[in-house]
């Protein structure tokens, strides 16, 4: 089993490297002249030459990639074209904000959703199950901006309970921060709870349909014990995968939510960078998001391996 885990780690590292290549290729596929496209109207022969040199466009793509990659490994993410500041200075604080918001949402969404999913699976066919399914289906279909705008309209504007803009700054204190970020958190929670709940339910039901659950029932065990002691432990591995999958979806959701509420996170910043064609910024932000995704998936994979009894207790060679 240890070997499998090491394999996964190795695979994760290789994936990160390949992803970095993809990101780099993606950002550099501008047709025509990069520098001209960026400077547009303000292009003069001198500024074009300066920009070309700054972007390192004189050297070939491979050399540029290597320069960029080695820069990352040394913590140097380049310089923002829009702000003339090091990317790192602009990126990391905002990344922290994004992770804080995502964490706030995840901490509430995951236990709630998994609990709801297990309950509706255990109570399959009951009113609770059917109602939960319908509500979840509807919520999953609602785009983040619809939910966000709806919440702003009622909670902020009409009832004045929470601010409509999530203005945060460092040193603002936990209570104030929570108040500012509760609306965006709610939107994120609503969308992810529905997703995770439905997929957890499917997973647990798949386990409940297996023959050994029938055997447990025929042993006269009460339903609660059958679900909690027999079904859930077998659903743990797949459920972790479900949660990991949805948490990475959370990343996309974060981008939209940050834009709705004007939250100073990496998602909104990346969208701005895209519209300004700030290549180094976009590269770095994309790399960070992708890395989070890869690492989380890798951890989920490893957790699934660690929880698999066949791998933890391999078959003993009998003579």
């Amino acid at each position: 089993m240890a070997w499998l885990i090491l394999q996964r780690l190795g695979l994760g590292v290789i994936t990160l490297v390949l992803v970095s290549m993809l990101v780099f290729t993606g950002t550099e596929i501008l047709p025509g002249d990069v520098a001209a496209a960026i400077l547009g109207q303000n292009a003069t022969p001198e500024s074009l030459a300066a920009l070309r040199q700054e972007l390192g466009l004189d050297s070939g793509p491979v050399a540029r990639y290597l320069a960029w990659a080695s820069g990352i490994l040394h913590g140097d993410l380049g310089q923002s074209l829009a702000n003339r500041q090091p990317v790192g200075e602009l990126l990391w604080p905002r990344f922290g904000n994004t992770m804080a918001l995502a964490g706030y949402a995840a901490v509430i969404a995951v236990p709630l959703a998994v609990g709801l999913g297990i309950s509706s699976a255990a109570l399959r066919g009951s009113f609770f199950d059917r109602a939960a399914n319908v509500v979840a289906l509807a919520t999953v279909s609602l785009p983040e901006y619809f939910l966000g705008l709806l919440l702003i309209l009622f909670v902020s504007v009409q009832w004045g309970l929470l601010p409509s803009l999530a203005d945060t700054w460092s040193g603002m204190g936990l209570a104030a921060w929570l108040q500012a970020t509760t609306l965006p958190m709610l939107v994120l929670v609503l969308v992810t709870v529905a997703q995770i709940m439905r997929m957890t339910r499917t997973t647990v039901l798949a386990v409940m349909d297996q023959p050994f659950i029938e055997t447990a029932c025929l042993k006269g065990l009460p339903m609660g014990r059958v679900v909690l002691v027999h079904a859930v432990p077998n659903a743990l591995g797949p459920t972790i995968n479900v949660v990991a999958f949805n948490l990475t979806y959370l990343i996309a959701g974060v981008v939209l939510v940050e834009t709705i509420f004007n939250y100073n996170g990496l998602g909104r910043f990346m969208v701005d960078a895209v519209s300004k064609r700030d290549v180094p910024m976009v590269q770095a932000a994309a790399m960070v998001f992708a890395a989070v995704h890869v690492v989380m998936n890798m951890l989920a994979d490893i957790a699934a391996i660690a929880l698999n009894p066949r791998l933890r207790h391999p078959r003993v060679k009998e003579s």
Binding site: F212, K219, G220, P309, V316
Partner: protein
Amino acid sequence: MSHVLQIRDLRVEAPDGTVLLHGVSLDLNPGEVLGLIGESGAGKSTVALASMGYGRGGCRITGGEIRLAGTEMRTAPRQTREALRGTRIAYVAQSAAAAFNPAMRLERQILEVPRVHGLMNEAEARVWMTDLFSALQLPDPEHFGRRFPHQVSGGQLQRAMIAMAMAGKPDILVLDEPTTALDVTTQIEVLRLLRDVIRRYGTAALYITHDLAVIAQIADRLMVLRNGREVETGPTAALLDTPQQDYTRLLVAERHGSLTASQRMHNPGKDELLAIEGVDAFYGRTQVLHDVSLRLNRGETLAVVGESGSGKSTLARLIAGLLPPARGEVRLDGARLPPELSQRDNAQLRRVQLVYQLPDVALNPHQTVGEAIGRPLALFGGLRGRALKDEVARLLDQIGLPACFAARLPGALSGGQKQRVCIARALAAKPDLLICDEVTSALDPLVAEDILRLLLQLQNELGIAYLFITHDLSVVRRLADRVMVMQTGRIIETAGTATLFATPEQAYTRRLLAAVPELRTNWLDEVTAAH
């Protein structure tokens, strides 16, 4: 003497309203073993599960009375039924691998029964469990329970399941085809242990099976079921000797083997059709065939017999071209057959055809019968249009199905009908050799008998050679000219059928032959005494 189980006019319905049981009644005395016999769909499992107050897959008990230990199960509240399950009546499933929780140690699942029902404390329960392990002859009874289900062999897991059922000291054991999934040699061991345990602890049992020979060894009384109705009930020996009902007579006759060697009217030719010389085969790094050689003449039937893991199916795949040999060669009519499928030409592909065990997955659910049979006709015979349709009709007739079946999809056919279509599909290519891979193993005994009869008839008419792969020795006796016994990828013995059954040379062959249950109630005692 009061019955431990009393069922009157039991009526069970499926979720869509189909009636599964039309009013079945039975009595079970303490310590008695009642065998429930019937084909698939007869309702045997349904009766047994209903006696526990349980309906599988949403089935509902809609009528009748079930008295278990004085409690009426149909109307009893859920808690009452739960309290009785495991403690008064316990279930042993067909597949132990599917019945155990893969994430839990065996002992935890076994001890759960007496602990959750409050019958014993931890120490007492452990002692009882160890006793059961010893009685079931499991290795290292003190520590066997520490293992996980995937860490023990199939036969051991089956016995562990029996231990789990006995853990609550029930009055009744419900045994749902407990040995069907096991190899013959494992089956006889488990059967013997089961009988010992039942006798030692005085447990009554409902034993479900479709194998008359197996049930004859263990049941005091037999009940024959068909389509949800009781056909006949009586003491075992009497019912097997002098069955009253026609259906029972059919079942008993089938087990005795109504087809004898004299029905093979054809004369196997002397020309060599298939020759395999010194073949080795590997799956990855594991060697699955060791120096296998055989000869098959035109029109001859060679049975390849072995238990699971013997390599018989691998041999079939090798001949068909799906698994190239690492060493050795295969010759058809003296000419070497290319080892890979892609290297063979149309003529070579045509001459060897394969029929599989499970007709459900051997037919494309989206192709009609006519399309399935028609394709080889078009591909190998070049037939089109009218000529194609006529030939399909002719083939359907040859296998005993009406021509209108050509328009049907496999979903509308029964298991036996599907297998016939598979045979027709194979015949459409006009092969010289038909490889039958356990073609009757998944079918009910009476249906299987029909298929065997058909195969014999076809061989008489067409002179095809059969390579008949099976684990069922009774089928071999009826069908084969020669027999080849395999074990773990090696040929143990090859001989003419009569010779092999009369005077087996190798120890493994003798063990194999001895393990096949015969339709005599004292067979198991004899075999046990012989050891």
